[in-house]
Amino acid sequence: MSRKRSEKEYQKTAEFHFRRWLEGSKDPFLDTVELKPQKKFAEEDAVTKKRQQELNELRLALYDKNKNRVVKGFEVLYKICSPLFCILIIGALLIAVSFLPPEGNASNPVNNEVEARYLEAGLQETGAVNSVAGMILNYRAFDTFGETNVLYIATCCVMILLLVEDDKIRNKLQLNDREFEPRNDVILQKVAMLLVPIVFMFGIYVMLNGHLGPGGGFAGGAMVGAGLILYVSAYGTKKTQRFFNEKIYTVIKVTALCLYGLLMVYFYYTGANGLDNHIPLGIPGNILSSGLILPINVLVGTEVACTMYAFYALFRRGDV
């Protein structure tokens, strides 16, 4: 038989106490539990400052070899180990070199059919008197196209680092290249007036004569680039930009590389598919001879000259 318990009776039972403890309104061991909201953690300004300062000191001390024994130990170890390592590698390489075939021996592995054909049939097959030009621009044209692209991508990388596109930022950075130099230096200008045409002429001569004698696109382009740099340093940017500004630079660079690429596509395609490439080799020794080598030399020279000048201008002003 069940009966209803009174409130008072119920409050004495263990069940009631447990329930109150569970709800958190009453702790059986204490009086009423006090629930206070947690205070937000607040640090005093002085403490924060001190902590920051200590952190900074720690950072400085971390790489101070007098305070950090690990760094000191590493430095000592580095000083001992790096020469040992270098000596070891130098020794290994020297030993390996001593086993290599002696220089200039006729029976060396390098004196094989490859070299023989380059030297003996090169003149006839490429039409170039300069057999180095024949080798790099005709037999191994693919590598040289890659090498020209190395120059191009190097300029692009320098542009990533140094190019300042916006005129406002450039003014702010005060990238004025003639701030610390004498303006209109008479001696420099007179000498440049005499030298620049000669340098240009010689550079172009080396470029055009690449298949007949020493030189070629890379050497000639470097000379033309040097001439441009001399002109800029004597007459300043403003005068140079009348005939060589960023727009012209981009157009010349892209045109030269694209033409080079197109010539190469034609050369590879006809060569690989066994087609006749219709490029006359001419009489060896003439200026208009040796097929593709002459135009390629000119194009490579243009690209190299642009690269040289762009490097100079980028390092100086952050702009071409």
Binding site: N112, I153, I160, K253, V254, C258, G261, Y268, T270
Partner: protein, 501 residues
């Protein structure tokens, strides 16, 4: 007369170069469009080439120019080369799609076109490394690869990326220098630069025992040079900064393509230049094996210590590169197949991880710190799911690409008869556990609910960024495809290796 398809290797390399050259005359938007078009075109061309080569059943040589080998330059394409080119193109395209939105935010105004120049030339150099049959061509394109990778790192102009790029350049140039020295030695003792001709000469040298010392030094120089460039364990110090702080697509491309390009070149050198038997007999391969094992452990340990998610993923790359070199080190064909499969599966998962990690840090106040990332998967659901898939693949759960490569490694180790079996299996198990610890820790962290913090948190849905979500979806599909249908890929690798020899 060649079939027209056989021109595709040369065309795809030159197309990339043209795109790179023309990009400098365009503005950022057109350069981007051109880059995408060229990449899609090359993907299609590589796929056609792959189908053609599978049908033909043998590799072919393409004479670049009118002079045949050994006088002129040559390209060579087999099933493995075409397959790799196709795969690299797909990963490149997906990485650019997935990380493209970040470029607008992180690049200095007006330098987008320079980024695409770097991407185009990097792609051309990767394709050239895959297809070339000439050691010196390989070196020239290694140079392009190095410079463009530096550009990709430092184009996000920030103190840490400049420092990372400097480090990368120093280490990478050291690697190039060693490779070049190796090539000089090789030319000195064989007199050739073309891979097949060098191989015949090397076989003779090995048979007659002349020039034995220079040959060993050459193998060591080339292996160490390429190991530095692909961040094998003791030479990995440049890696966490370079991958951790550069812009997302750069990190994805660097980790999944650039280092893999060098490893593929090393595979080519092992098979086509020196010869697999001679490499097996030399002791250099044991060194690669030991370094690979050490990398598997120490890379994972460093990753566990990291509190920065990007750097953790970067350190995990060190461990994965260790797996690949461990496969080389086994010195068996099965090990090599496992390594090549791991190149593919790692590239697919690592780029996925980088892109999704960027998505996660976007909704956590651009922070890459673990603590801030708590609950990020609820705020960016696509990235969270993608990160989980990538992690599971890295840990090696069945269904995903990583499982197959781990299975292949274990099988290769089990059937190898040398002393290498036990250490491989033990380290493989240990490394898997370590992988699971740090990747699962991150997955649990991003799926832990956290109270909304108005300053730090934001929400990104699929509709906000459909391109990235699409790229992530394709990445996941690729990963599961590799995990579920691995047999066709394995068959391709197998027939490709047969064509190599």
């Amino acid at each position: 007369m060649l079939d027209f398809v056989q021109n595709f290797p040369c065309f795809s390399i030159l197309l990339c170069m043209f795109a790179g050259i023309i990009s400098s005359a365009l503005n950022g938007k057109s350069a981007k469009l051109l880059n995408r078009c060229v990449l899609i075109l090359i993907t299609v061309m590589s796929a056609v080439l792959l189908v053609y080569l599978v049908g033909k059943g043998e590799s072919f040589v393409y004479v670049a120019g009118s002079f045949p080998a050994p006088w002129g330059n040559e390209l060579r394409a087999g099933v493995l080369e075409a397959g790799m080119a196709l795969f690299f193109c797909i990963i490149m395209l997906l990485s650019l799609l997935g990380g493209g939105y970040k470029l607008d935010l992180e690049l200095e105004h007006g330098k987008e076109k320079l980024y695409y120049i770097m991407i185009n030339l990097l792609m051309s150099s990767l394709l050239a490394l895959i297809y070339t049959n000439d050691m010196f061509t390989a070196y020239v394109f290694v140079e392009i690869n190095t410079i463009s990778a530096c550009g990709l790192i430092m184009i996000r102009q920030w103190g840490r990326t400049i420092e990372a790029a400097t480090r990368y350049m120093i280490m990478s140039l050291l690697g190039s220098g060693l490779l070049l020295m190796g090539l000089v030695f090789l030319y000195g003792i064989t007199g050739h630069l073309l891979m097949s001709n060098i191989h015949t000469q090397v076989v003779q040298i090995a048979a007659t025992e002349t020039y034995r010392v220079p040959l060993m030094v050459t193998i060591a120089l080339i292996c160490v040079g390429l190991a530095i460039k692909s961040a094998l364990f003791p030479f990995h110090n440049w890696l966490p900064d370079a991958y951790g702080y550069s812009t997302v697509s750069s990190a994805a491309i660097l980790s999944s393509l650039v280092s893999k390009g060098y490893i593929f070149l090393l595979i080519k050198i092992i098979y086509r230049v020196i010869g697999f038997n001679i490499i097996q007999d030399s002791k250099v391969i044991n060194i690669l094996f030991v370094f690979g094992l050490a990398g598997m452990i120490f890379g994972s340990l460093s990753a566990m210590k990291e509190k920065d998610i990007r750097r953790m993923i970067a350190y995990s790359s060190v461990a994965q590169i260790g797996y690949i070199y461990m496969g080389f080190g086994l010195g068996t064909t099965a090990g090599m197949i496992a390594s090549i499969f791991h190149i593919i599966s790692h590239a697919a998962s690592k780029s996925l991880l980088f892109v999704s990690a960027a998505g996660l840090s976007d909704v956590s106040g651009d922070s890459t710190d673990f603590f801030d990332l708590t609950g990020a998967a609820y705020r960016n659901k696509a990235a969270g799911a993608a990160f989980t898939v990538g992690s599971l693949s890295m840990v090696g759960l069945p269904l995903f690409a990583g499982f197959i490569s781990k299975l292949l490694f274990a099988q290769a180790a089990a059937i190898s008869s040398s002393w290498k079996m036990l250490p491989t299996l033990v380290v493989l198990a240990l490394s898997t556990i370590l992988n699971a610890i740090y990747f699962m820790k991150t997955v649990v962290r991003i799926y832990t609910p956290v109270k909304w913090n108005a300053v730090l948190h934001s929400k990104v849905t699929i509709k906000d960024n459909p391109v990235t979500a699409f790229a992530l979806f394709l990445f996941i599909v690729l990963n599961i495809l590799l995990g579920m249908c691995s047999q066709p890929v394995m068959n391709l690798i197998n027939s490709g290796l047969h064509m190599f020899a």
